[in-house]
């Protein structure tokens, strides 16, 4: 069973719809007992980091997510959900994240760039991974974000995208996966990535 964590931020139905279309059985919940039985936990999210981590604390989900990550359950963070996996974010202040992965979330600071980084951008392969199966450097995915991951753990970065800096687009450390873009809004390429994810986690 796959759980999409409903922690009261943004529009998470689109992720559910995309996964259901691929015949994945998903449950949208914030019930810890249900989450504890999941094989994979999806952490979606749009909006602000502060509200998101605040809600995870409010619903008592921080320990639950850490515990499940430690026992090897798949944890997949999408967009803001990916940023939550890291140690710290500097979005409108300084906030601690889940700390499942090492790195910090910082603002695009090139004054020549439009922020948010909004629209379709190339995926650039950094290393082989099941998640990148059948993807080419000609493939585009849809991004919407104003902050990005800075991390020294280059070996965890599977795809980047270029926007003034190298923006980590897909990251993975064992059972922990993050996607900075929106696979559910990335047309046929997004479907391909979700299919790869399905093969991995189901």
């Amino acid at each position: 069973m796959i759980v999409i964590v409903d922690y009261g931020v943004g529009n998470i139905r689109n992720v559910e719809r995309a996964m259901t279309k691929l015949k994945m059985e998903v449950i949208v919940t914030r019930d810890i007992e249900v989450i504890d039985q999941a094989k994979a936990i999806i952490l979606p999210g749009v909006g602000a980091f502060r509200d998101a981590i605040g809600n995870l604390i409010k619903y008592d989900l921080v320990d639950c997510l850490k515990r499940n990550a430690a026992k090897g359950t798949w944890i997949i963070g999408i967009c803001l959900g990916m940023q939550l996996l890291y140690e710290k974010s500097y979005e409108d202040g300084e906030y601690e994240g889940l700390g499942l992965l090492d790195g910090e979330i910082v603002k695009f600071d090139d004054s020549e760039l439009k922020v948010p980084h909004m629209g379709w951008n190339h995926l650039i392969k950094q290393r082989e991974d099941e998640l990148g199966k059948d993807l080419s450097d000609q493939d585009y995915v849809y991004f919407v974000h104003s902050y990005y991951l800075q991390s020294d753990n280059k070996e965890q970065i599977i795809f980047t995208s270029s926007y003034g800096v190298d923006v980590p687009a897909i990251v993975r450390k064992d059972n922990i996966i993050g996607m900075q873009f929106h696979p559910e809004k990335s047309g046929a390429v997004g479907v391909k990535i979700l299919k790869n994810l399905k093969e991995l986690i189901v």
């Binding site: 529009n11 439009k114 559910e184 809004k185 047309g187």
Partner: protein
């Protein structure tokens, strides 16, 4: 590289797409969901729906279209038209819209931009501006479908909107809209250079070259059009191949 976006716009009244269409390859061109799916398939990067419905009952029909569209397509879409309050925002976001655009309501109550951005994040809040050149060659912001001049300067209003939290601007030039004589390049460039959020140019596309101009000289991040796509005068794939050949980064 981040690509320039091509965005078809669908005006919807009483549940149907307005403006005549002549597609040979789809049957019900007035069904917004069918047309949305067609455009998504044809290579559109995003879609914009404007609800031009008059009455409240018919707004429920529109909400249902938003839900069905979210179920059907897997590219982002923006909803605009008649959004007055945070409640309207909530309803549309819950129905599956990725972004909501506000126009007159933002002029009446600029705090709406801020409240919506705080709740959903700037990336969901699009400030749509109807603008027209005045006798001093500056551009004024209009509301009520272009009938009322607010006296606001377009560049100043854009900056203020972004400062309040708008994550994107749609710039619709009233003078060029429907004329098919090209986008309003100068003001698009000026606003694009004045704010740090993406700017979508709207109003005036008649040829593929017009798209090229506004995405290069006009410094727009995206170009929106209704009629050239609806009437089948320009095909999205063909347009993108043309742009790519001319050195513009597009998603093909």
């Amino acid at each position: 590289m981040l690509t320039k976006r091509i965005i078809p716009c669908l005006d919807v009244r009483n549940g149907r797409v307005v403006k005549g269409t002549k597609f040979t390859d789809i049957r019900d061109v007035e069904d917004p969901v069918v047309l949305a799916a067609f455009y998504a398939q044809a290579g559109a990067d995003e879609l914009v729906f404007y609800d031009i419905t008059a009455s409240n009952e018919q707004r429920d029909i529109f909400l249902d279209i938003v839900k069905k569209t979210a179920d059907t397509i897997d590219i982002p879409f923006t909803i605009g038209g008649g959004i007055r309050s945070l409640d309207d925002f909530d309803r549309l976001m819950k129905a599956g819209a990725d972004k909501v655009s506000i126009n007159s309501a933002a002029v009446n109550d600029p705090q709406l931009i801020k409240e919506a951005a705080l709740r959903y994040g700037s990336q969901c809040v699009v400030l749509s501006m109807d603008i027209k050149k005045n006798e001093k060659s500056r551009w004024d912001v209009y509301v009520k479908g272009g009938r009322e001049n607010t006296g606001l300067d377009a560049v100043e209003w854009a900056k203020r909107g972004v400062a309040l939290g708008a994550g994107e601007i749609v710039l619709n030039s009233i003078d060029t809209d429907g004329v098919k004589d090209g986008y309003a390049l100068e003001i698009t460039r000026e606003i694009s250079e004045s704010v740090r959020v993406p700017v979508i140019a709207s109003g005036g596309a008649g040829t593929m070259e017009h798209f090229y101009e506004v995405l290069t000289d006009g410094k727009a991040d995206a170009a929106l059009s209704a009629s050239v796509f609806h009437f089948g005068e320009i095909e999205i794939r063909e347009l993108k191949e043309y742009l790519k050949k001319k050195g513009v980064e597009v998603r093909l």
